[in-house]
Structure formats: structure tokens, C-alpha cells
């Protein structure tokens, strides 16, 4: 096993982009579901 610091540094942007991407998609889904609920649902 060899430890490759450069590979670690190269992979960090993927972590940043991945987490950012997943939260953006998630927020888009939350927004859509909230709108759908507001338009179509009745309060219990």
C-alpha cells in the first residue's frame, strides 16, 4: 500500500462538487415537493 498525497489532493474537488451537487438536487426536489403539496394537499 502506498500513500499518495497528490491523489488525495486531486480527489478533494470531487468531494466538494459531489456534496454541493447532491444538496442542489435535493433542494430542487424539496422545493418541488413543497409546491406540489401546497397546491394539491389538504391539511389534516
Amino acid at each position: 500500500m502506498k500513500f499518495d498525497v497528490q491523489a488525495l489532493l486531486n480527489s478533494l474537488p470531487y468531494m466538494g462538487k459531489g456534496m454541493l451537487g447532491i444538496f442542489i438536487v435535493t433542494l430542487a426536489i424539496i422545493l418541488t415537493v413543497t409546491i406540489l403539496n401546497a397546491v394539491t394537499s389538504k391539511k389534516k
Binding site: 500500500m1 470531487y14 456534496m19 447532491i22 435535493t26 424539496i30 415537493v33 403539496n37
Partner: protein, 386 residues
């Protein structure tokens, strides 16, 4: 004597040609036996571990040798599994995709649709995947293999197969064994991590469902369509995964295809599961499976699971800093997918702390959000690397 020699000719020839391979194959029989034992005796993901265990024995019978990097086999089962693998997994990843129709038909997104903010837990609980991607790169795996290993943290077998196969990882079998073994170990791994990351006071937080809206049929029908479109825009490589999952869910929710929904949930899912395990075992050839990287992958997979759980719990704690009605941070742990096991584990832990603390609906809501988020995470990884 000649009859006996003829009878055992394949094994004798192989012992003469490559005695080390025979030892490795025997080790694989033992590994296969352990998988079968875990499936039957410990009830650990038996639908997959049992076929994989038997398949591991099947592809490691005598009569297989490697000549110039090419596998030459007299073992008939080897060729059959090879064909199944080529058709079902290598060319288009058909099996995991079809299985996703069944999984989609099984999932009730109702608890998530009632509390859409639960999607945030699913998103945060993918942290372990990306963290493990970095760690796997650090320990020497190339980026595609590192990403394929990291996706074990999705706690979602079909997604793990799809990503690892699309990225042409050479560690598919180890990744699959790790993914399904850890899914089976959720009831052991998660409680320990949850206890380390939360205080007793936090674990006692009760969550009520008052004020929640009823989810209309229109929302239930539009949800799978809208999610497919959103994910299709952001991560086109994941659109087949999310599309098949959501297609299954649409069949369930539309209300006019009950018979198809039932078939997808039971017959289709069972049929694919029978073939999936034994087909994946084709990758468990002694020469390819028995290497030190397999152990490393097991370790990294565990790491991904732990940090996914950690990510889900931490977002709940952060949200509690701003919310008036506090969230029990344990439900964040259910965001790792592993549906419905992670949700049940959280509910059980809640009841163990306080026998009137029913977290099941909240935990299942988070759990299904994890199912969607893990597919999105897989899709993003493919968008970056495929």
C-alpha cells in the same frame, strides 16, 4: 486405478499445472461456505449472500486455468455464469436496473412527501461516499476504482454494481461482497456509531406528526416523474438508475396497474435477485478475488458506512440549532439508504431509550430519501468520471 485417475483428471491436471491455484480455489470454497453459513444461520441478506456463496464455489471448481491473462475453462458452469454476466451486468447493467423497478414499486414515498425536508438527511448521509473516494485515492487506488469502492457507502447494491461496472472497476466482486455484507450488518454497525455521535438527551427527543399534511394522489404520481426530470438534468448518467426506480414507483402509485405493481414487487424482484447473486459470483474467481486489495476494500467500505451515518446525524444536529421543534438526530442515520433496515434500526433504538418514542415513520421517510440520494450520488460520480 486408471478409472479413478480419469475421474479426477481435471483436478490432477490442474495440480500439476498450477498447484497454488488449487489452494486458492479451496480458499474460495471456504469463503463461499462462509457466505452460505451467514445467509442461512445468521439471516444476513440471504437472498444475495446465498447465491453468491454457491456461485463462488461453482466458478472455482477445477478445470479453470489462466493462460496469458485469459481464463481457459473446462468447467461448464463457468461459461454459463460468464454468459449471464455478459448479458445481465456487463452489457448495459440490465440486472441492477430491472431490480430497481421492483425496488421502486416497493417504496412508499408518503412519509418523505409529508416531510420533504427529510431529503436533507439523505443528502448529508452520502458524505461517507465522497470522503471514502478521497481516502481510497490516498491509499493508492486509481480514481475510477476509488469511486467504485466509495459507492459501497450508498448501502444500495444495484447502485454499487451499476457504478462499479460503468467505471470498469476491476474490483467488482469485492465491492459487491462488501456492499451486501455491510447492508446485512447495518443492525450491528449503526447502533454503535449512533451512540458515539449522540447524547442520551438527544436520543430521547420525541417527534410528533401533528401539522403534517396528507399527501394527495396527484403529488404521489408527479413525484417520480419530477424527480426523474430533475436528476436527468443534473446527472444524466444516473437517469437510467433513477428512471427505473421511479418507473417502478409510478407503477405503484398510479392506481391502475396494481397487478403489475405486485408483480414488480414480488416476482420480478425475486427473479432478478436469484440470478443477480449467482451472476456476480462469476467475478469471484480465486485469482481475481484473493488479493490484499479485497481486504482493503472491505475496510474502506466499512469506513464509508460509518461516515455516511455520521453525516446524517450531524445534519440533524446542525438543523436542531435553528429549529424550534427539535429533531431526534438518530433519524439522520437512516439516510444511508439500506431500505428499510436502517429505518427499523433507528426506530428500535428510539424505543429502547423510551418505549413511547415512535420514530418509525420519520426514520422511514429519511430512509427512502437516502434511497433517492444514493442514486443521485452514484449519478454525480458517473457524471464526473465516466
Amino acid at each position: 486405478m486408471d478409472i479413478i485417475l480419469d475421474l479426477f483428471a481435471p483436478i490432477i491436471e490442474q495440480m500439476q499445472a498450477d498447484p497454488i491455484l488449487i489452494v486458492k480455489q479451496i480458499v474460495m470454497w471456504i469463503i463461499g461456505g462462509i457466505l452460505i453459513y451467514l445467509a442461512i444461520k445468521k439471516d444476513m441478506e440471504p437472498t444475495l449472500l446465498l447465491p453468491m456463496g454457491f456461485g463462488a464455489i461453482l466458478v472455482n471448481l477445477p478445470g479453470i486455468e489462466t493462460v496469458g491473462g485469459e481464463t481457459v475453462a473446462q468447467n461448464g458452469a463457468f461459461h454459463t455464469l460468464e454468459r449471464l454476466f455478459n448479458i445481465g451486468i456487463e452489457n448495459g447493467e440490465l440486472m441492477p436496473l430491472i431490480l430497481f423497478i421492483g425496488i421502486g414499486a416497493m417504496i412508499d414515498f408518503g412519509p418523505l412527501l409529508r416531510n420533504p425536508k427529510y431529503m436533507l438527511f439523505g443528502a448529508a448521509a452520502q458524505f461517507g461516499i465522497f470522503f471514502t473516494l478521497c481516502l481510497s485515492s490516498f491509499v493508492g487506488f486509481d480514481l475510477n476504482d476509488a469511486a467504485s469502492i466509495a459507492i459501497i457507502g450508498a448501502a444500495d447494491g444495484p447502485t454499487a454494481i451499476f457504478v462499479a461496472q460503468t467505471l470498469k472497476s476491476s474490483y467488482l466482486a469485492a465491492i459487491m461482497v462488501a456492499a451486501y455484507s455491510y447492508m446485512a450488518l447495518v443492525p450491528l454497525i449503526q447502533p454503535a456509531v449512533i451512540k458515539i455521535c449522540t447524547t442520551k438527551k438527544e436520543r430521547l427527543i420525541r417527534m410528533d406528526d401533528s401539522g403534517a399534511r396528507e399527501v394527495s394522489k396527484v403529488t404521489r404520481i408527479l413525484f417520480p416523474i419530477v424527480v426523474t426530470i430533475i436528476v436527468g438534468f443534473v446527472a444524466p448518467d444516473a437517469v437510467s438508475l433513477i428512471g427505473f426506480l421511479m418507473f417502478g414507483n409510478l407503477i405503484r402509485e398510479c392506481g391502475v396497474l396494481n397487478s403489475l405493481s405486485e408483480t414488480a414487487q414480488k416476482v420480478l424482484a425475486n427473479l432478478i435477485t436469484i440470478f443477480l447473486g449467482i451472476t456476480i459470483a462469476f467475478q469471484m474467481k480465486a485469482d481475481e478475488f484473493l488479493r490484499w486489495e479485497t481486504l482493503l476494500i472491505m475496510g474502506l467500505g466499512l469506513f464509508a458506512f460509518i461516515f455516511d451515518t455520521f453525516g446524517g446525524i450531524m445534519i440533524a444536529k446542525i438543523m436542531n440549532l435553528f429549529l424550534k421543534k427539535k429533531i431526534n438526530p438518530m433519524i439522520g442515520a437512516a439516510g444511508i439508504s439500506a431500505f428499510p433496515m436502517a429505518g427499523r434500526v433507528v426506530n428500535k433504538m428510539g424505543l429502547a431509550e423510551d418505549n413511547q418514542n415512535f420514530l418509525l415513520m420519520h426514520a422511514i421517510g429519511v430512509n427512502v430519501s437516502g434511497q433517492v440520494a444514493s442514486v443521485i450520488a452514484g449519478g454525480l460520480i458517473l457524471s464526473f468520471l465516466a
